[in-house]
């Protein structure tokens, strides 16, 4: 067992890792002085992976929408009952989440860490699905879907995705629909489990005030007791997504007090991995803050005119095969906000971005990034998706420090294109 070490001098943090012979990677970050320990067992499998091929079967498999999330729910079931109870006895809280690209199982504890870790490593590797329990889960997940149907922020976001993407499965709700989940069978769950829950497709990330050798020894010993699994090569099938958007506008009515909007720019500079992808990610976040942040002229103008309020925010999503910048908030007149944003972008393309703004925003983001390391949940939950994109989290602050004004200006010109812009609005019923 060779332990690899990655350190950041700026952060005063180190991450240790091992790669096991079965391909599973295990990471550990010490956090001295912390009361909590936190562990995530994650698979590089999310709602986007709805079409794939299995080498042994040859044919293309297309599974019902919402299955990755359904599987996440059902993995907690064991022959002797729910694994929740065992974690509860230890006083720790166990949880899981599914997003577009990954499924993560996690717990946080303040005591008996290794007993908790063993539970986590075991239950994720031991699926137990029965027809009866699959049927029962449908009622629960249907209520989860209904809950999201009443959530205007969730609806305005998914509608924006639908306006941007023609084919890409990112436009489909992570939990699927009440109809699609009713089609899910026990066999579907096993097919997905066997395809995507393989050591090579998974990682374990552990953080807390623990001893590194003890952590790695324990994980190694625990995993060796498990059953060996056949490792088939995963062939994910993603449709060809055109660069163009589907439509410029999308609207829906819900019980809200005033209109909500998301304005999104579809990214066409795709296919990057690792540090290149990270540099694009960071550049885009700097631009968003420079143009639309609290200290920007545009924010000030929109705010003073009463077109936006405190809820106005921005976010960039940069996956390997797709990406988008998203601006969102509440407004009496969302289309007026859109017009002013597009005018401002056009103006800034003429004038060029300001070097002063760039320096100040970069400084701000350095400080903020430091602050994120207060939270072990942040560290683990950010490390995982970045790792699956070939990015090391500790590189973030180094690249942020080095990134140049020219790189950012160049990205600004390319990405913020009015032809790739959509607006999604939720209006009061």
């Amino acid at each position: 067992m060779t332990i690899q070490t990655t350190s950041s001098e700026l952060l005063h943090e180190t991450i240790y890792s091992i790669e096991r012979s079965d391909g599973l990677k295990v990471f550990f970050m010490p956090k001295e002085g912390y009361t909590k320990q936190y562990a995530v067992f994650a698979t590089n499998y999310g709602s986007n992976d709805s079409k794939f091929k299995i080498a042994s079967r040859g044919e293309e498999i297309c599974v019902p929408d919402g299955i990755a999330h359904f599987l996440e729910h059902k993995l907690f079931e064991q022959p002797e009952g729910s694994v929740f109870d065992k974690f509860s006895e230890l006083g720790s809280s166990v949880n899981a989440y599914t997003n577009f690209t990954s499924t993560c199982y996690l717990f946080s504890s303040t005591d008996k860490f290794y007993e908790n870790l063993k539970l986590l490593l075991d239950f994720v590797r031991e699926p137990y699905f029965t027809d009866e329990s699959v049927e029962k889960e449908k009622g629960i997940i249907a209520q989860e879907i209904r809950m999201y149907e009443d959530n205007p922020n969730w609806k305005v976001f998914f509608n924006a995705l639908k306006a941007m993407y023609h084919e890409h499965p990112v436009k489909i709700d992570i939990a699927g629909t009440v109809e699609s989940i009713h089609k899910i069978t026990k066999d579907d769950l096993y097919t997905c489990y066997n395809t995507f829950y393989t050591p090579r497709n998974m990682i374990v990330f552990i953080v807390g005030a623990l001893d590194k050798d003890e952590v790695f020894d324990f994980v190694d010993k625990t995993l060796n007791n498990g059953k060996k699994k056949e490792e088939a090569l995963i062939q994910r099938i993603y449709p060809n997504e055109p660069d163009a958007i589907v439509k410029k506008e999308i609207e829906e009515k819900l019980s809200v007090s005033m209109p909500l909007f998301n304005i999104a720019f579809k990214d066409v500079d795709n296919g990057l991995h690792g540090r290149e992808l990270l540099a694009k990610d960071i550049s885009t976040r700097i631009i968003l803050e420079m143009l639309f942040g609290r200290s920007s002229e545009l924010f000030m103008k929109l705010y003073e005119e009463g077109l936006i309020n405190d809820s106005f925010e921005h976010e960039y999503t940069g996956e390997i095969d797709y990406g988008h910048s998203m601006l969102g908030g509440e407004s009496k007149n969302p289309h007026e906000v859109l017009n002013k944003i597009l005018d401002h972008i056009a103006l800034m393309k003429e004038k060029g971005l300001s070097q002063d703004d760039f320096d100040r925003i970069r400084k701000k983001q350095m400080g903020q990034h430091l602050g994120y390391y207060n939270s072990i949940e942040f560290i683990a939950n950010t490390f995982v998706p970045y790792y699956f994109k070939g990015i090391s989290l500790l590189d973030y602050i180094e690249i942020l420090k080095e990134i140049s004004f020219e790189t950012v200006s160049e990205r600004f010109r390319k990405h913020f294109d009015s032809d790739k812009c959509v607006i999604s609005v939720i209006r009061p019923k």
Binding site: L11, F84, D85, K136, P152, S255, R294, G367, L370
Partner: protein, 426 residues
């Protein structure tokens, strides 16, 4: 772990609490002003926390304030209101990166002086707040109050409390109401500001990598609150026996029904049975192995979320869930059944141990988040409880089954609230 804090008296009614730790990458300063929760001022207090960050004498616009904070490595400033029982708390917070990781030094001190300007040196126009700022923030606050319906889960909880405590101050929404908002002017708000800045009890918390003497010096130098006689906020009334269960239904265009049941626990937080009651609520609806979760979600597939929680200061227990509209009767019945069973001692030693462990884990976990640590100790200050975290944990450990049962004896259902669709009938 954390010891009892010894507050430093900066002046009459102004206290500083320093929590020294080197494990965070930031330093946090939180300032709490204690007000009574009153209809007369709740809306003004909320508006004030929105107007003050708009500008100071030196930085007259929010753009200038933001730029200054960004230059301090993205110092994050927040100001907000909340309610702790029938107290209205006004809070300001500033989190700054620790100098240790920066090329620049003195960041904390610069931050302190900006925070002081935000609180004490607002941008004025003819001896009152800037009219334009006040008017803009009045619009924003109106949107926020009206936007309460957007989050259906918390709306259903708030509405239940509003109906249940309709003739008590606790029913007041912390962001106030639109009618009172309309009446506020730049003059009247400034007058209110001058009044509260002198008459409110102030508690300042600093969580960070600095020793007490250094912090005290810096705070004395940069963050000056008026010393003097401060307003005493009275303890809220809690005993109440509802004659009948009140049933309230609101209709909206929604996909899922939101059910909230409000109970009176009739047990003050000062009671020795308070910790047992918290354990009781945890066994009933605290987490994924609670009675409600296991029976109503796992066994009956009626919901995705269901939980129970205790409102400490007002002695309430709230149970909340999202269900199909036609499952109202069934859910209400099942919740009642679980509660009765528990009152009669229908829970095991394992249930008790799990609940205690889970409560202790979340208490201990607070020490990993600077803002939670400050909030924990502030709650102790407000509730006049000298216990340290360790002492509280010890009390939870010692809770017995008998005490849990005894603590639940006076729990009474007061109000059932249901937010449902607009279709007729059930």
């Amino acid at each position: 772990m954390l010891k009892r804090l010894a507050p430093i008296e900066l002046g009459r009614g102004v206290h500083l609490h320093v929590i020294k730790t080197d494990k965070f990458k930031t330093n946090l300063i939180r300032v709490y002003l204690q007000r009574p929760l009153e209809k007369e001022e709740v809306t003004k207090n909320a508006l004030l926390t929105m107007v003050l960050p708009r500008g100071t004498e030196r930085f007259t616009t929010s753009m200038a304030v933001s730029k200054e904070l960004e230059n301090l490595y993205g110092a994050s400033l927040s100001s907000d209101v909340s309610k702790k029982g029938e107290r209205n708390i006004i809070q300001f917070a500033l989190q700054l990166a620790n100098d240790k990781y920066l090329e620049e030094k003195g960041v904390f001190e610069k931050g302190l002086s900006i925070l002081n300007e935000i609180i004490h040196k607002p941008h004025l126009q003819e001896g009152k707040f800037h009219t334009q700022y006040v008017e803009q923030e009045k619009d924003n606050l109106k949107e926020r109050i009206e936007g309460r319906i957007n989050d259906k889960m918390s709306y259903a909880l708030d509405r239940c409390i509003e109906e249940m405590c309709s003739d008590e101050k606790f029913s007041l929404y912390e962001y106030g109401n639109v009618e009172d908002l309309k009446k506020i002017s730049a003059e009247s708000l400034y007058e209110h500001y001058q009044n509260i800045i002198g008459t409110s009890k102030v508690d300042i918390f600093v969580v960070g990598d600095m020793d007490e003497a250094t912090v005290e010096n810096m705070v004395r130098q940069h963050l000056n609150f008026v010393s003097g006689d401060k307003l005493f906020v009275e303890r809220e009334e809690i005993q109440r026996s509802p004659a009948d269960v009140k049933k309230v239904e609101d209709k909206m265009d929604v996909s899922q029904g939101k059910l909230t049941l409000g109970y009176r626990t009739n047990l003050p937080f000062e009671s020795e049975l308070y910790h047992p009651l918290v354990v009781f609520s945890n066994i009933l609806g605290g987490g994924p192995n609670s009675k409600l979760f296991r029976n109503i979600r796992e066994k009956e597939s009626l919901c995705y979320y269901i939980f129970s929680r205790i409102e400490k200061f007002k002695s309430l227990m709230m149970i909340s869930s999202g269900i199909e509209f036609d499952k109202y009767d069934k859910t209400v019945e099942l919740v009642g059944k679980q509660l009765e069973e528990m009152k009669n001692g229908g829970f095991t030693t394992e249930d008790i141990e799990s609940a205690k462990n889970s409560i202790i884990t979340s208490m201990r976990s607070m020490t990993d988040t600077p803002s939670m640590m400050a909030d924990f100790y502030y709650t102790q200050v407000v509730s006049n409880n000298p216990d340290s975290l360790d002492e509280m944990i010890d009390k939870v450990r010692k809770v017995t089954k008998e005490a849990i049962i005894a603590s639940s004896k006076q729990i009474e259902l007061d109000t059932i609230y249901f937010l449902r669709d607009k279709k007729e009938g059930r």
